[in-house]
Structure formats: C-alpha cells, structure tokens
Subunit: 145 residues, 3 copies
C-alpha cells in the first residue's frame, strides 16, 4: 500500500473508533453494531466476561452488560495503528471509561477504569470495520451500590 | 478535493482545535480569538448560556464566563472530521473539562464535565477556522462554593 | 518537505509518542529507551527534578523517579506537531497523569496532574525519535502517604 492510501486508512480507522465511542456514550446501538464486521469478536475475558461473536450480538452484549442504565463516558487517546495489507490492520488504543449508575439499576455505583484496546480491522467493500477487540486494564476502581 | 488535500485539511483542523484548548487553559485570549472566523458563532445554550457571535466577542465571553479566575483543563479526544468542500468542514469532538475556582471568585468550587463539541469550519485565505461551535453534555458534576 | 511526507512524519511522531506512553504505563523500560534519540534530553526542572541526558539514562530516570512501584496512567491528547525540516520537528502535547502508590513504597499516596509536553524530534536513519522533552503543568494534586 502506498503512503497516501496508508494515511487514508489510518484516518478512516481513527474515525471508526470515534464512532464506536460516541455510539456507546449516546446509547445508539444500531450505530454501535455498524462499526463491527459481520464476523467480529469482542473478547471481554479480562473483565470477567466472555467472548461475543457477530456485530449485532456485540452491540446487544454492550447494551446489556450494565451500560444501558448508566451515565457513561468512554475516551480513546492517541493510537498505534498499523496497516498490514490492503484490507487488514491492527491498533492499540489507550482508553479511560467512567460509569455511574442510578440507585437500584446495577450492582455498582461507579466504575472508573483505564487500559488499552487491542484491535484488528478489516476492510469490507472499501469500508474499515472492527474485526476483533480485546480490552486489557491498567487500573479499575469501583464503588459498590 | 483529492485525498492528500483532504488529509492535510483534517490535520490542520486537528491542530486548530489543539490551539483552541491550549489558548483556554493558558488564558491566552488573543490566541483564542485567532482560532475563530470573523463571523463565528458559539452556542452555549446547553450550558444555560446563549449564543455569542464574532471571534473577539467569543474570546471575551469565554474569559468572562468564569474561566479567567479558574484553574482549567480542557481535553479533546479522537475526533470525527468530515471535509465537505474546499473551504468547509464539520467535526465532532469528545471532550472533558475540569475547572476549580479559588475561594471567593465564583459560585462554584469545581466543575467536571464530559460531552461533545459539534463544530463547523471554514477556510479563509487558506487557513481553517472555527465557524460554529455547540457543546452537548454527557455528564456534568459541580460542587458549590 | 512535500505534503505527503509531512503528513507521514506527523503520523510517525504521533505513534512514537503513543509508544512512549504505553512503555511507561506497562513498565517496559527497554521500549521507553527506544523512543529517545541517543543524545536526548528530558527536562523535569518544572517537577522539582533536573535534566537527564541520553536515552538509557532517561529510561532509568523515569523508572527510579517513583514510577516503578506505582500504578500509572499517562494520556496524551490532540497534539500540535510542526515539521521544521526533513529531519527535525517540534510538538506540544496536552497530557494527564494519574499515579497511585501501594503503602510503604513512596512519599505520596496519589498524584494527579495535567499539563503540556513541549518536545523536539529528530529523524535518525529514517526513524523519528524524541530529542528533547520538557513538561509544564496546569495543575497538580497530590495526597501524601
């Protein structure tokens, strides 16, 4: 891939991830499903959860894992994105998430975490999509409900 | 617009917004006015304030809305920037702001907020500038003075 | 430098700084040394410390200044990067750092800071590296141990 195409792909993946964060924090589940490839995998084993497969199933997992009733803020910082072919790429994103639940909606009152998303991307019909996502943590603070 | 020009415009707008944040947090009001177009509009109706028009008036509004006496930190995260013509663009920026006031200077002791800037840009004499800015919030926490 | 080369250099420097942050927070001291030029200088006089010279010495300084026993999170936000020649560049990075020490390991329990990195870069054998780094602060909050 030449330099222009590579830079264009990196910018497309940055904006893909920006849509991911905005979809979660505005609770737009259709927009969230749309950033994942049909065969995508989300690995949340590090969060004490499992692996979810398929764009629609991932959006439904995120909705029902505690995020829907919460006020949430997810931020992605300066990423390391590597284009490995015309249709494949990898990325590491530093992240921070802050969640707060109204009384009676969840086992926690707040969660404040920091870590890295480790991701791969594929290009389907010219559009970059998240193919795999795994979250590793540097630190997580919780307050029980 | 071809791909190189589009990527160059996106980078210019990223750095424009970086100057916006740095100007506010270092209280450099001339530098703040310089990131806005002459006919710019800042819409803070979501903050319980109004719409301010004109680069100099916007810088003066920001200075006098409570920011001048405060220690402030404003951060912009990974944006969604779309170039819509040779001289026009739109952007959505996830943001976080943390303000703390010395005793006796303001009605609040602290404010900690999260949200999105919804912006448009115009290019005047080859230079990208902010044309409109509206802030929507995900969450705001305040402590009264 | 033409536009494509300039945009490629900016992207390389973004990813260089991303490796800097990830190396510190994952305590990978060899990876940290690798982001600095052989003759690099880190100026921490604003932190009440001094100037450290040389990539290996800088990594050792960061390791021993209190970071090794701490849980740390360092975030870099949207930067202002200027390419000044084929082999030289400057950058300003808004930053936030959060450190927490286990009891008995340090004079502080927590530190939470905000500020800007002021940096220069050089390109050595085609690879961009940090040549100088100085940290200025907007705000620092500490809790003693």
């Amino acid at each position: 891939m030449d330099t222009i195409d590579r830079l264009e792909a990196i910018e497309a993946i940055r904006q893909l991830k920006a849509r991911y964060f905005r979809a979660i924090d505005t609770k737009d589940w259709a927009a969230l499903a749309a950033v994942f490839a049909p065969g995508a995998e989300m690995d949340m084993t590090g969060e004490g959860s499992g692996v979810t497969r398929g764009a629609a199933a991932i959006a439904e997992y995120v909705r029902t894992c505690g995020i829907e009733p919460a006020e949430t803020v997810h931020h992605g910082h300066n990423p390391e994105i590597t284009i490995t072919s015309d249709t494949a790429a990898t990325g590491i994103w530093p992240m921070e998430d802050m969640l707060r639940w109204p009384e009676g909606t969840f086992a926690l009152r707040t969660m404040h975490g920091y870590g890295h998303y480790h991701e791969t991307y594929i290009r389907v019909d010219g559009v970059w999509l998240i193919q795999t996502l795994r979250l590793s943590r540097l630190r997580v603070d919780v307050e029980p409900a």
